[in-house]
């Protein structure tokens, strides 16, 4: 027995599946009638979405004064939610682009739903800066177009303008990437479909795909190019988000560590959300043989890695602050750990630094219940991380005369809940109409008609 055989992994997809079986099993999830569980989840999430929409309507009619923000703490829940959701999106692009460039074949089972998660998370994130505007209906003033105000142009030196460009590019490229990957699968479903309206939908969006290899070759080239573009893009997006804070002079924000710290945190939180979703999806849609324990375990390992980077960043941040000799900077960090919001800070540290360490144990890493619980805790922790960064620094700036407190209103909470409603509503619709696993990609990593060496990676 050679060394290569000794270290070769078990196949990615469990069971000896034929090509037709793959189309049928993944397609079936989108083709069969939704279960009562789906309807229940859909009603709950769209109900929450409606509550959020009502809260936004109320806020639009009266202004941002309906939130708990004040002239000292001008940014609070909305910006926290924005950074949280953008971060969630990053794992999707990481799986679809970076793991693609690294030829990680296991990504094929999770890339489709992770990319969908990215899209929906970015959609949720995009809502917050807009509803935070004084006159949200004028949000298009962010676009530099010739106008009757002079032409008055946007300030290209402002990180908030960079952010607008970063988020809109990120959404467009993620949508394009996701859709291009979807075309062959839509064609597969089109050719299986016996229903009229659905058939029309698949025919329209599959663009006349016929499986010609000349097209496949171009498709592969385009996919590679998009992956190559999305990789630096995903790093740039959270870097720019971190600059929203780091280019100000506020203690606790004005820090060069922010870009790598934010990017690692984003991928970390995103993987937690991917795990939460995948554990539900594989069970609810009977896809256990496609999204296997091995996939869950590999993602857990990435959580340990990115969680380690996040923990290290927390440590360095505190060390540099205390070492800086700058009393304002020192106070900002003492205040975080021992001030009025210390509980939020220690939730952050507990959930993001301590909890992922449990994943070092193989027993926990392969226990779905444990991984699910840990992924939820990380989601909570990462929301609180952003809350602590945004609010504690603003509450206690240079002048004690301008210090203030923040406490959220019911509208703040309703809009946060509404964003989860929007996210899950979109995700449930996605599961209902589109194959949640890339059929064509999975066919490429089957054991069917291959030796085991070719498929293990």
């Amino acid at each position: 027995m050679g060394v290569a055989e000794l270290i070769s992994h078990p196949p990615l997809i469990e069971g000896e599946k034929t090509l037709q079986q793959v189309s049928a099993e993944i397609g079936a999830a989108a083709e069969r009638k939704p279960t009562w569980l789906w309807w229940l989840a859909f009603l709950m999430s769209s109900g929450t979405l409606l509550v959020g929409a009502a809260a936004v309507a109320y806020e639009f009619s009266l202004g941002v004064g309906t939130w708990g923000v004040n002239s000292t703490v001008g940014w609070a829940f909305a910006i926290t939610n924005f950074v949280f959701w953008i971060g969630i999106g990053h794992a999707g692009t990481f799986i679809s682009a970076i793991l693609y460039l690294f030829r990680q074949k296991w990504r094929t089972s999770v890339n489709r739903s992770a990319e969908a998660m990215t899209l929906f998370a970015v959609a949720c994130a995009g809502v917050f800066p807009i509803i935070h505007l004084g006159r949200p209906w004028l949000f298009f003033w962010l676009i530099p177009y010739p106008n009757t105000r002079g032409s008055l142009w946007v300030n290209f030196r402002s990180p908030l303008v960079w952010d607008f460009f970063a988020i809109s590019t990120y959404f467009t490229i993620s949508l394009t990437f996701w859709y291009v990957g979807l075309i062959p699968d839509l064609a597969t479903l089109r050719d299986r479909c016996r229903r009229r309206v659905r058939g029309w939908f698949y025919r329209f969006f599959s663009l006349g795909w016929d499986g010609s290899y000349r097209t496949w070759q171009r498709y592969e080239t385009v996919y590679m190019l998009l992956a190559g573009l999305a990789t630096p893009l995903v790093v740039s997006v959270h870097t720019i988000v971190s600059w929203d804070f780091a280019t100000s002079i506020l203690p606790g924000w004005h820090s060069t560590i922010f870009p790598p710290y934010f990017v690692a945190g984003a991928i970390f939180s995103g993987f937690a959300m991917v795990l939460t979703l995948m554990i539900i999806v594989r069970r609810a849609m009977h896809l256990e043989s496609y999204i296997t324990l091995r996939h869950i375990e590999l993602m857990c390992k990435l959580v340990i890695l990115t969680g380690g980077i996040v923990g290290l960043s927390y440590g360095i941040e505190v060390f540099i602050a205390l070492y800086s000799g700058d009393p304002y900077e020192q106070y900002a960090f003492v205040n975080r750990a021992a001030g009025a919001l210390a509980w939020a800070y220690w939730i952050t540290v507990g959930c993001n630094v301590l909890t992922p360490q449990l994943l070092w144990f193989k027993k926990l890493r392969t226990s779905l219940k444990a991984v699910f619980a840990i992924s939820i805790l990380i989601n909570i922790g990462m929301w609180f991380e952003r809350f602590v960064i945004v609010v504690t620094s603003l509450e206690r700036d240079f002048l004690p005369s301008s210090w203030a407190w923040f406490s959220p209103t019911r509208i703040d909470v309703a809009i946060l809940a509404g964003s989860f409603g929007l996210f899950f509503t979109l995700f449930l619709l996605f599961c209902r109409f589109v194959p949640v696993i890339s059929i064509a990609d999975v066919k490429g990593v089957l054991t069917y008609g291959r030796t085991s060496k070719e498929v293990s990676a």
Binding site: Q20, S23, G150, F156, R157, F165, G208, L225, D441, G444
Partner: protein, 175 residues
């Protein structure tokens, strides 16, 4: 123009790859291969030239970046010079993030549009499948019978070695 086409269907990618390589070595004209997924190594088997789409991506990315840099200088320095916080007129470092985003946007979107154009894909276009199962579990090799010397029986027996499940001759308007 109508031409005589020869179809051979396979169940496994190895067979499709082997048959395609053999067809090329025998000097047959390969019209296309249809497959349910991107078969690794088929490019070499068909001897396809690499796609030129990366050039579209590069050119449009470069144009996007250059135009954006020019636009940022023009708007903030010439069209309406606005001094914000005493920052210098020549703020190239501050212009980099938006330039990067615009470059990625233009390069990505235009590459996909170019792909749709060259591959003749478009919304609502009717797919002309040469065989119903090519988007599911069949691999199909399509050859053109270029001259009278093309012996269909001989070619069929060649493909039988590669476990062809179906061979077929048709007159068609293949692309």
């Amino acid at each position: 123009m109508s031409r005589r086409l020869f179809y051979a269907a396979f169940e496994h990618e190895q067979d499709a790859l082997g048959a395609t390589t053999a067809a090329r070595q025998h000097g047959f004209k390969i019209v296309d291969v249809y497959a349910p997924y991107a078969v690794h190594g088929m490019e070499e088997a068909m001897a396809l030239a690499p796609s030129k789409l990366p050039w579209v991506c590069f050119a449009l990315g470069l144009i996007g970046a250059l135009l954006k840099v020019w636009f940022e200088y023009w708007t903030t320095w010439i069209a309406w010079p606005l001094n914000v916080g005493g920052k210098p007129w020549d703020s190239l470092p501050a212009f980099v993030p938006v330039t990067f985003e615009v470059m990625v946007f233009l390069a990505g979107v235009s590459t996909v549009i170019a792909f749709f154009i060259v591959a003749r894909l478009g919304p609502g276009k009717k797919a002309a499948l040469p065989m119903p199962r090519v988007t599911d579990d069949r691999f199909l090799l399509v050859l053109e019978e270029t001259d009278a010397a093309f012996d269909a029986a001989k070619v069929s027996s060649l493909f039988r070695q590669f476990h062809a499940v179906q061979v077929d001759e048709r007159v068609g308007e293949a692309a």
